[in-house]
């Protein structure tokens, strides 16, 4: 009895312990529930919304590209598409067959849609055909009752009114590739295009715009239940270029008379680019509407590299256009002065090596100005070893060669200015004095892009300011001219004056190498320097047998170069021209440069400020294209 009483007491006590534990556990659950629902409530609310709300991205309108006068270079044109939503069609195939009766659709296109319809969810629209004519759209719209599941919508397509002329500069847009897909949700939109080259690529992020959003409630399999919220997309930034579209087109047309050539026309003071062209080119419109494989193959196979923007990524031996650099280096290091003369006997001997002047018989006595005028090689051979490569390289870099110039286009290449430490580091050999001789006339290791040559010319003729090139006018890039102008270079003005005189005589003196291209109208007269870049070494045998360069295969012929400026007094425009394998600077490049400089001066784009505002009076917020 007592034992049982004990047992009951133990049971009662323990029953209360169990009851207490149950109460405590209920308390824990209640507290947890309160914590989840009240303290963490807002956090989980967001997560829940994320779950059920599908954000549909609305494609933004891509920013346009216009030239300095507001003339469009890249615009968006309407692109009508026919779509089909499988779940709204009784039979996808029947609807397509009916469509075939009123519109031109190939069997292949029908099979493609049917295949796609099997793969994707039934409520996802499938594109049947794009680029419909307005008549097609009207016909589909009228017949919609007989075309279950069909609909039309209007998309956008990039188009380039100037076609080939701006293909390299403006670039083109293309489908987003896997490696491009990053944070921006817009990129995963079907049919979304991003910039692939040129301005389109460089300012892609700005021009892309801000995607809009349509918040739709979806269930777990992604079907839309209803739209909750909508935010419109914001158009991308309009890019205003400093180029003159018509001048660009003129330049492109003029270049097309050669087999492969490129040119840059630039403001000598501000660095604003007025035209930048490369030939052969391609039609960027073909890229946005789906390039055919055959055309792509053709572009790739073309030995003149139509896809390359040679004006900024072609690297050539600057040849005799480099002589201004060598002369300036010699003047600055006081190796020569304006009166120093050298006797050219047609070649120059250094040790056991013989370096030939381009003129077999020699030029006789030449001073600095004349050395430029007649492009005498011996003069520079003579001074090269004394000045030394390092001094030449230093001046070359000062004039804008040997490194990138922060130009907006990513395709820009750095060129090459060799010196002693470069050779030791890159090639692992000591610099030979003979190499300085070769470098002094812009051959050997020296390489420059047409853009760099234009910048070099500008720095020679603008009074010695460290101008850099830029092509976007509205402050998109950071390389445009500072408010207080470009910094002054550390050069003596008399030296620059003397070099400019030499360049003047190249064109306007009857013995000058470009005299044949002289502009008679003094108002438009120009100066400059020819260059003929060896692609292959001229062998002793060739020299003796007198093989003419034009008898060689195209690929082995010399490059023809010309750098020029105009007008003669107070130069405003500079230009550089490279005709690949054009044989000679004076015969191929100089006439081309003459035409470009004449047209540039006639159009005089630098006299009108860039028209930045999309609407409203021109020039109100304008930017002065040319300095001083």
């Amino acid at each position: 009895m007592k034992k049982n009483q004990d047992h009951v007491r133990v049971f009662t006590r323990r029953a209360f312990v169990i009851g207490g534990l149950q109460g405590a556990l209920l308390g824990v659950l209640g507290t947890r529930l309160a914590w989840l629902q009240v303290s963490q409530g807002s956090r989980y609310k967001t997560l829940s919304d994320k779950n059920r709300i599908n954000i549909k991205v609305l494609s933004p309108q891509r920013g346009e590209v216009v030239d300095r006068f507001g003339v469009p270079l890249a615009v968006n044109t309407q692109n009508f598409r026919a779509l089909i939503i499988p779940e709204q069609a009784n039979s996808v195939e029947d609807s397509l067959r009916s469509l075939q009766k009123i519109m031109d659709i190939s069997e292949k296109e029908i099979q493609k849609v049917l295949k796609q319809a099997k793969k994707t969810a039934k409520f996802v629209p499938i594109e049947i055909k794009d680029d419909l004519s307005w008549e097609d759209v009207a016909r589909v719209e009228v017949n919609l009752p007989d075309l279950p599941g069909l609909s039309t919508d209007v998309g956008e397509r990039r188009s380039y009114p100037f076609g080939e002329a701006t293909a390299h500069l403006v670039g083109y847009v293309g489908a987003v590739s896997k490696k491009d897909i990053g944070d921006d949700p817009v990129l995963s939109l079907p049919g979304f295009k991003i910039g692939k080259t040129g301005i389109e690529k460089r300012f892609d992020l700005d021009m892309r715009g801000k995607a809009g959003q349509s918040e739709v409630e979806v269930n777990v399999v992604g079907r839309e239940v209803r739209e909750l919220n909508k935010k419109k997309s914001r158009s991308g930034r309009r890019v205003v270029l400093t180029v003159d579209g018509e001048l660009q087109r003129f330049t492109q047309n003029r270049l097309s008379q050669e087999k492969s050539a490129s040119a840059v026309i630039m403001d000598a003071h501000s660095g604003a680019v007025y035209a930048l062209a490369s030939f052969p080119s391609f039609d960027p419109n073909a890229f946005t509407s789906g390039l055919s494989a055959a055309l792509w193959e053709e572009l790739l196979a073309n030995p003149a590299h139509p896809l390359t923007n040679k004006a900024i990524s072609g690297q050539y031996p600057p040849a005799s256009t480099f002589k201004m650099v060598s002369l300036l280096a010699a003047l600055q290091s006081k190796t020569v002065n304006s009166k120093t003369t050298v006797f050219c006997k047609g070649y120059y001997e250094y040790g056991r090596d013989r370096f030939h002047c381009w003129k077999r018989g020699g030029h006789g006595w030449v001073d600095g100005r004349k050395a430029l005028q007649v492009s005498c090689d011996s003069y520079f051979y003579e001074l090269a070893t004394e000045v030394g490569i390092d001094k030449i390289a230093q001046v070359a870099r000062m004039m804008g060669l040997g490194s990138k110039l922060d130009f907006e286009l990513k395709e820009e290449r750095p060129g090459l200015v060799p010196d002693k430490s470069w050779k030791l580091g890159q090639i692992g050999k000591k610099w030979q004095p003979g190499e300085s001789i070769v470098a002094s006339i812009g051959q050997g290791y020296v390489q420059a892009t047409p853009l760099q040559l234009a910048v070099m010319t500008a720095r020679f003729v603008n009074g010695g300011y460290a101008v850099k090139p830029w092509v976007t006018a509205d402050g998109l890039a950071e390389n445009i001219m500072p408010a207080d102008g470009w910094p002054k270079l550390d050069v003596n003005s008399p030296h620059l004056k003397m070099i400019k005189e030499g360049m003047d005589r190249v064109v306007n003196h009857e013995k000058g190498t470009a005299y044949g291209s002289k502009i008679e109208d003094e108002l438009f007269a120009f100066g400059g320097k020819t260059g003929t870049g060896q692609v292959q070494r001229i062998t002793m045998q060739q020299r003796q047998s007198g093989v003419k360069n034009e008898e060689l295969a195209w690929k082995s012929r010399h490059h023809a170069l010309f750098v020029g400026y105009a007008p003669l007094k107070n130069p405003r425009y500079v230009c550089s021209v490279v005709v690949e394998h054009g044989i000679g600077g004076s015969r191929a490049a100089a006439p081309l440069a003459r035409d470009l400089l004449l047209e540039t001066q006639k159009r005089d784009p630098g006299s009108t400020p860039v028209h930045i505002q999309e609407t409203g009076p021109a020039g109100k917020v304008g930017f002065k294209g040319a300095g001083r």
Binding site: T12, A15, I18, G30, R32, L33, R43, S48
Partner: protein
């Protein structure tokens, strides 16, 4: 010995019905009704496929519960061992059927319902332990040899359930058994010893006993966000549903998580989540409160009983029920790993409903016959 006080003759059935614990029945109906509402909502505002079936089952099982309650406790006392061995036999049958080629099967198809022997075993083990401890004394409880047989009573079904394999149910049987030992007066040291033993065997179990999917569940529980689209999906989505319900809830039939199908198994294991998402903290606490009242009712009944068998049985079954509740709700709140346990009276499912209500029938039988002598 105590004198028998009031009941001299067998009371009539009607009298017994009058004395049923109508308060407890009311609480059960209230909780089940919440379940019906939740199932109605889970189906997107429709009686089919779950709510209507569940209501029918509830009615049948309630009838069974009352029958069980009306049967004199002494019969249950006498039937305990046969029922226990029947339960073991059924578990063996399921196990053998599984080996013969039906895969991992946990039920026997009776035609009108699928019987899960392991569900019934949870009740029968409690009965068997109550029966065994009925005649024990405190001194008995302190002698280890006396505890060998009740330990075997627990281990035999646990092993069979583990073979199915159903870790969740076997753990519940072990916990219910441990509670029975405790209320019968087993030494506290026994529990401390067991705790040490378990701690020591965790590494062994991890390496040899647990299935890959069980390990994965534990790992996922420890860090559910590590695998939000895989095994952690359930926990993460459930917490999102609960949390987004907030104080007032999203409203009946408005739970976006469950209605848009982000919540998995919303009609069974995760039904509490659905309820709390739609009814908020308020609705969740009401449900927890109702469960608490049921626990309290069971405790109160066990304290009123005059017989050890009735005391142990009533409290044991109440503890059993509360374990179900705690494990399910703690699971959906991300407090313990996902074990696949339904929420009693609420989750959709026949056997579970039947087992729970038969359990309450026994508790009520204990109450109704709290004065009657079961033996001797």
């Amino acid at each position: 010995m105590r004198r028998s006080i009031s009941i001299h003759s067998e009371p009539s059935v009607l009298e017994k019905i009058r004395h049923l614990n109508w308060g407890l029945i009311f609480l059960i109906i209230a909780v089940s009704s919440i379940g019906f509402a939740a199932l109605y909502s889970a189906a997107g505002g429709s009686l089919s496929p779950w709510a209507s079936k569940q209501i029918v089952r509830f009615c049948i099982a309630t009838f069974g519960m009352i029958i069980v309650a009306l049967i004199d406790l002494k019969w249950w006392f006498r039937l305990t061992w046969p029922l226990y061995f029947l339960g073991l036999f059924l578990l063996l049958v399921v196990e053998i059927m599984g080996h013969i080629g039906m895969g991992a099967q946990r039920w026997i198809d009776l035609g009108f319902m699928k019987l899960q022997p392991s569900e019934l075993m949870k009740i029968v083990v409690v009965m068997a332990l109550a029966r065994y401890f009925h005649s024990s004394t405190i001194e008995d409880m302190r002698r280890l040899p006396f505890l060998v047989i009740p330990t075997l009573i627990i281990i035999a079904p646990v092993m069979l359930v583990l073979l199915q394999p159903d870790l969740g149910t076997s753990l519940m049987i072990v916990m219910a058994g441990a509670a029975m030992f405790f209320m019968a007066g087993a030494s506290i040291w026994l529990y401390i010893g067991a705790a040490v033993l378990i701690a020591a065997s965790i590494p062994l179990a991890w390496n040899f006993a647990l299935h890959a999917y069980q390990k994965q569940r534990i790992l996922t529980f420890l860090n559910p966000e590590s695998d939000p689209l895989g095994s952690g999906y359930h926990i993460t989505q459930s917490k999102i549903a609960l949390g987004s319900g907030g104080l007032k809830g999203k409203g009946f039939l408005e739970g976006t998580q469950s209605r848009l199908n982000f919540l998995p198994e919303k009609q069974t294991d995760f039904i509490f989540t659905l309820w709390a998402e739609e009814q908020g903290l308020f609705g969740g606490l009401v449900l927890l409160g109702l469960f608490g009242l049921i626990f309290f009712y069971g405790l109160w009944i066990s304290l009123r009983c005059r017989q050890n068998f009735a005391r142990f049985l009533a409290l044991g079954l109440t503890v059993n029920f509360s374990l179900y509740v705690f494990i399910n709700i703690a699971m959906v709140m991300g407090l313990i790993p996902v074990v696949g346990a339904p929420l009693p009276l609420i989750s959709y499912g026949g056997t579970s409903m039947l087992a729970v209500l038969i359990g309450f029938g026994l508790v009520m039988s204990c109450s109704l016959h709290h004065d009657s002598k079961v033996s001797r």
